[in-house]
């Protein structure tokens, strides 16, 4: 056999593809579920925390900063292992899916809070003053004047950060969540062939390249808006 047939046999084996593609597709569904759940809760929580922070209550803000710092500084895998192996020993049992969703949501919330807060701070003081001078309350000003502008500016950095964090759903393989990587690894060990691993990588490319491209497009659009 020449080297290209060896390669095809090991990495793009038709029989293996036929047998294990359904498993990989099932994994894709789980990955999408995790990703959507994480994006929804993570961004909502991050936005809520940033809004809360703008009330500038000292104790509350210290707690928010502590939360953000800790989740920015810790590797997600470390947190996942602590929660997954730690909680049962204090009587709480969560499924691997729930642990993955919870931890990644908290990580995304921490980064999103930072990004939203930067956005809020970057809005000129005159916007607050103009709105308050027409009789709008603090909360009305935040909701109708400040946040819409802040959120708009944060779209590109937030998109890129969100992609990076939702990709961490692959860490679920370590705690038995049947997402793409786990399915691919299982299939690889059963088939004794590297094809499922390549399929797994391709599955991620199919899922995430469009989002990465979207992030790139948003970035250029944002750059035009500024200049």
């Amino acid at each position: 056999m020449d080297s290209s047939t060896i390669f095809l046999d090991a990495f793009l084996n038709p029989a293996v593809i036929d047998r294990y593609l359904p498993d990989i597709l099932k994994g894709m569904v789980v990955t999408v579920e995790v990703a959507l759940a994480v994006v929804a809760t993570g961004i909502a929580l991050g936005l809520a925390l940033a809004a809360l922070r703008s009330f500038r209550v000292r104790a509350v803000n210290a707690a928010i900063v502590l939360f953000v710092d800790v989740f920015r500084a810790l590797p997600p895998l470390v947190v996942i292992l602590i929660v997954y192996f730690g909680l049962p020993s204090v009587g709480i049992t969560l499924s691997g899916f729930a642990v993955l969703w919870l931890v990644l949501s908290l990580v995304l919330a921490a980064f999103a809070e930072e990004i939203f807060w930067s956005g809020i701070l970057s809005i000129r003081k005159g916007q607050w003053e103009a709105a308050r001078s027409t009789g709008l309350t603090f909360v009305q000003t935040l909701v109708w004047v400040i946040l819409p502008q802040a959120v708009r500016m944060t779209v590109p950095p937030l998109t890129n950060r969100t992609i990076a964090i939702t990709k961490n759903s692959a860490l679920g393989a370590v705690i038995g969540v049947p997402e793409i990587l786990m399915q691919a690894q299982t299939a690889q060990s059963f088939s004794g062939n590297a094809t499922p691993l390549l399929l797994g990588a391709i599955a991620y490319i199919v899922l995430f390249v469009p989002v990465v491209a979207l992030g790139r497009w948003l970035e250029t659009r944002f750059a035009w808006g500024r200049s």
Partner: protein, 221 residues
């Protein structure tokens, strides 16, 4: 409360695991010393290729960068570590991690450098070239230093991410900090060693994170 302390902050168990954790920390440091320079240099090359004047060079580079930003680093690592042997290539865990990181973090660093270089006005190029500097000299002495300064917070932020990311090396049994902690956990049936590892990561990275959020929050007027 007692249950919590004995399960998460068990001093005895942490003390027992401490030498193992320190050895793991040493490996993490070694890993960082390898993958951070690799990413920084690789990323710069990626950026230069992406900024090439020739479309035939630029486009494939963009596609590759987007591919490596789409694939989770753990998937890349497992593909290299467990997949390449089927092609007769058997990288050690350390080499596998280095290659995976070069591809993944190179793409991320590359995007950052590119944004930095693009932020430098054309006037700088023209001024430098008008004094007789070559393109390479202009890049090295005029453009890149300014570009790096402009995106320094992003470079630091990405480096923090790289340090955190070294924890995935535990999955391919490279005995770095998290692997050692998880081994201690499975030996003692107690998660305290992982909490100790988390504390070590925090001690290392918290100052960087604090510094970063200072740099990132520029107040509007």
């Amino acid at each position: 409360m007692d249950v919590f302390v004995s399960q998460f902050l068990n001093v005895e168990i942490i003390a027992q695991a401490w030498p193992l954790l320190l050895r793991g920390l040493g490996m993490t440091a070694l890993l960082c010393a390898a993958v951070i320079p690799l990413g920084l240099v690789g990323g710069l090359l990626v950026a230069l290729v992406c900024l090439s004047r020739h479309r035939a060079v630029r486009w494939p580079a963009f596609v590759l960068v987007d591919f490596f930003r789409a694939v989770p680093p753990l998937v890349l690592l497992i593909f290299i570590y467990a997949g390449l042997p089927f092609a007769g290539i058997r990288p050690s865990p350390f080499v596998a991690v280095c290659v995976a990181f070069l591809l993944n973090t190179g793409a991320y660093y590359g995007e950052i450098y590119r944004a930095g270089i693009e932020s430098i006005g054309k006037g700088q190029w023209e001024a430098a070239r008008s004094t007789g500097l070559t393109a390479g000299q202009t890049l090295t002495w005029v453009i890149i230093p300014q570009a790096v300064r402009n995106v320094l917070p992003d470079l630091v932020s990405n480096t923090v991410e790289v340090v955190k990311l070294t924890s995935i090396a535990s999955v391919v049994a490279l005995p770095e900090l998290l692997y050692s902690a998880d081994m201690a956990r499975s030996l003692t049936y107690n998660p305290s060693p992982i909490v100790a590892a988390a504390a070590i990561y925090l001690a290392l990275l918290w100052p960087c994170v604090r510094l970063l959020s200072r740099l990132e929050h520029r107040v509007g007027r």
